[in-house]
Symmetry: C2
Subunit: 505 residues, 2 copies
């Protein structure tokens, strides 16, 4: 191949990537807007616009010429002349390309319109606890997803095809083992906790906390974490989320509950962890499709690290509890230790996003098992509420009183994100393993937290993880940083240590 043709392919490939990235930015804003304040009567036209633009972007990502440029750049003599970033762009784009060309554009566009409408319908259905109004949408989304699985081709089980999308290489067989191992070790720990006579008092947490004061404190903590408000914003939505339009525009949302100061607080720190990842991606990746987190599991490791490892630590509250007390004068009069113990209470609950660090993994296992049933056993949307309630009873010993606090609680399925949930527990495991290395790299890390100096932690994570965006795979990161492959025992050890102290086991 001549040099001129190579250069032409590289240039046009690079331009196409930039164009696709521009569609991603516009679509991220169209979605963000839908969920933070777009007028309801514009929803139908908006969904149409999202469908049209997604269709256009999809066409550009699956165009035959892109296949030709990729083939030209993959030729070994050309590939070796590319920079590391260009090489990874080629590899990542090839993967998406091969996956996407199997979906007919019209089918994909219908699906995007459907999920866009379904997300708004879900918000309403959840508020009214009206599963029947949402079921036909969910049923259709499952139908489309099954069509996609057929088109992509099944390796292992049908559900594996979905898992691979969020955590490359992950399989049902592996997750069965990992989740099995976790359950085996966490169940006795959970039992020991339940039997402890040293149960934290959480009664004082239930009070009226003025929303504006909550909002102010959320902003303050985000600033402490190093969230850059010049490159992001904080808004409200029914289900909190983070979205990175570009590293200079990273948006998070939270939800303020009048009678619970911890919901918005830890929700904000969680989304703030996602946001720190997106804000600190290297400048060299900006404007490319590599300028995002490398996998959902690694992304969740950052939100869970900031929310739980840092945000629910004794050191954190030894520094920030005084600020919180001053924010709600006269409302928090218990000592910092009591607040720390109350926010780390282990207690089976119905709502995943409000669950403690230990039982959280059971919430994930329930969703994982239901998703396996849907795609590997053909379970229908109409069966889900009963299935959901039965599993909650079996694993957590409690049952939802209505679907709003049951099967309707999460946004994920309304967006077609089947295979996503396991990422949360993967995130917990990655986070614990990273923390082990962090504690050796920065031996004074907990003194830094006690001093309210969180920036060196953010900087370490930026150096090791954030700046690489999609340049490193999850396994490259975990092995490169910690020297070992993913090992769930780090999470078990971390939880054991924490709860032994809190519950005096």
């Amino acid at each position: 191949m001549t040099k001129a043709i190579e250069n032409e392919a590289l240039q046009r490939f690079t331009e196409r990537i930039a164009l696709i990235k521009s569609y991603e930015e516009a679509l991220a804003l169209l979605y963000w807007d839908l969920r933070t304040g777009a007028p309801r009567k514009g929803m139908e036209v908006r969904s149409e616009a999202i469908g049209q633009l997604s269709g256009q972007s999809f066409k550009l990502s699956t165009a035959p010429e892109l296949g030709e440029w990729l083939a030209a750049l993959e030729a070994p003599d050309t590939y070796k002349t590319l920079t590391e970033t260009q090489q990874r762009l080629v590899t990542e784009t090839r993967k998406d390309y091969d996956r996407s060309v199997k979906i007919p554009p019209k089918l994909y566009q219908e699906y995007v319109v459907l999920t866009s409408q379904a997300e708004s319908m879900w918000e309403e259905a959840k508020a009214k606890s009206d599963y029947a109004s949402f079921e036909p949408y969910l049923d259709k989304i499952i139908g489309y997803t099954n069509q996609f699985i057929e088109l992509w081709g099944v390796k292992g089980t049908r559900y594996d095809t979905l898992l691979d999308m969020y955590e490359p290489g992950m399989t049902t067989a592996q997750l069965d083992r990992v989740f099995g191992g976790l359950r085996e070790k966490l169940v006795p720990l959970s039992a020991a906790i339940a039997a402890s006579p040293h149960q934290p008092d959480t009664g004082f947490l239930k009070q009226d906390y003025p929303k504006d004061a909550q909002k102010q404190f959320s902003k303050f903590i985000l600033e402490q974490m190093g969230f850059d408000f010049g490159a992001g914003r904080l808004d409200e939505s029914v289900h909190p989320f983070a979205t990175g339009l570009s590293p200079g525009d990273v948006r998070i949302t939270t939800r303020y509950l009048a009678d619970d100061v911890t919901s918005a607080l830890f929700g904000t720190i969680h989304e703030g962890g996602h946001a720190l990842y997106e804000q600190n991606i290297g400048n060299d990746l900006i404007g490319t499709t590599l300028a995002t987190g490398t996998s959902m599991g690694i992304h969740e490791s950052q939100s869970r690290f900031w929310e739980n490892v840092i945000g629910r630590s004794k050191s954190f509250w030894s520094r920030y509890y005084g600020d919180l007390q001053r924010q709600f004068p006269g409302q928090l009069e218990v000592p910092a230790e009591d607040f720390y113990r109350a926010t780390n209470v282990v207690r089976p609950s119905l709502i995943r996003i409000e669950a403690d660090e230990l039982t959280y993994n059971l919430h994930i296992i329930i969703r994982y098992e239901i998703e396996k049933l849907i795609f590997n056993e053909g379970v229908k949307a109409s069966e889900l509420p009963a299935l959901w309630n039965a599993k909650y009873k079996e694993y957590l010993g409690i049952e939802p009183e209505h679907d709003g606090e049951g099967v309707l609680q999460d946004v994920h399925w309304s967006g077609g994100a089947f295979g996503y949930f396991p990422s949360y527990s993967l995130g917990n495991m990655y986070a614990a393993q990273f923390t082990d290395t962090l504690e050796r790299a920065l031996p004074n890390v907990w003194e830094l937290v006690e001093a309210g100096n969180l920036i060196p932690i953010k900087d370490w994570l930026t150096d090791k993880i954030y700046r690489f965006g999609k340049l490193r795979t999850p396994s490259e990161l975990i092995e490169g940083i910690t020297g070992k492959p993913l090992d769930p025992d780090y999470l078990v050890a971390y939880l054991k240590k924490k709860y032994t102290d809190i519950y005096k086991l």
Copy 2:
């Protein structure tokens, strides 16, 4: 031509229009977001995305196949089988198509990126009163505009080519006559007003008005006008604007001045007039490029009608002054009549958007003359501050102390909107002429206003103007509704009557 080919052309043409409309919605949101709260550090990437998407939309609007479908649909035997809406879509699309194919896509895309950056730079330059930082952007925008004029072709003068874009058919020669006529009749009226011993007292207007209370009152008045908050929202920006993403999603912004209750109030009513137009476009036009106002002049007739004819009327304040007083307890103790007179004071001022109804036209004439000089006489960006200041001294007898209250005050030029300003005075003239008909169609119109029943007025305007979107041209509307072509004497008569009462001339 066979029936099958006709149908194929119509179907593909209709799909293309829907696709172009989707880009318009996305771009409107990208701009709205930039101006209401997008993080600054994302600006550069955002501008790039806007440029890319505008380029894509431009390609779709100028594609050879669109030219072929248009030609097929314009064939007389086919054209006569189309519905009225389809016919107008063909005519309007042909006009835009012929105009656009003359601009090379790359040039247009550069221009869009430039104006997107320039609008943000302008905001900063205005805040700092730093014309030097904005001048290079303005200089480049003028350069691009001159290239476009060459490409489009000059009819009459170079500036006529720009005027036609905002008010189809309008020429420099016509505007010289109309503005000449207006000036001739308004100058003696202005002189009589200045000589009147009955000058309104405006001192009481300058107080601290809490921003939240202003915001509440703005929302209240919008509701009274029939603005549908289920199909729109109200936000803040440096320069107030209205944007219709679709009739179900119409957004307005306003700016609250702490020491002036009238600025946000009348600004909101003004943008609310634009919004009523966009919200009440007929359902049959939704998703087509006809779902917007027919011209800038007609659009401005609606904002100026609601702001001035209704919002600054004695009847309006006889109904709403009590509400305003209650909104600012103890702050507005003068009688309604005094408030009415104070908000209708005629006094030369520096800021166009705060000018009174009479001298407002002089602000427009200054901009019109400067734009004519730029494009017909080659005046440069560097000469504008001096030119601006000299004209203000000559026509209004006052001079800006800094460029922030002078040449930098308006957003328009930063977006390349040369030829737009005359629309405002055209709007005043259209509004006065429509009002004359309205008063005969609804003889009790001022009693309705006094009763706070503004909906029949909105309904009349919907029936006569709003629902048609771009289905009618400006001259079809003005002649169809009033039975006469545009005549500036209606505005003169309206102003004479109003000020004769207020100033007891």
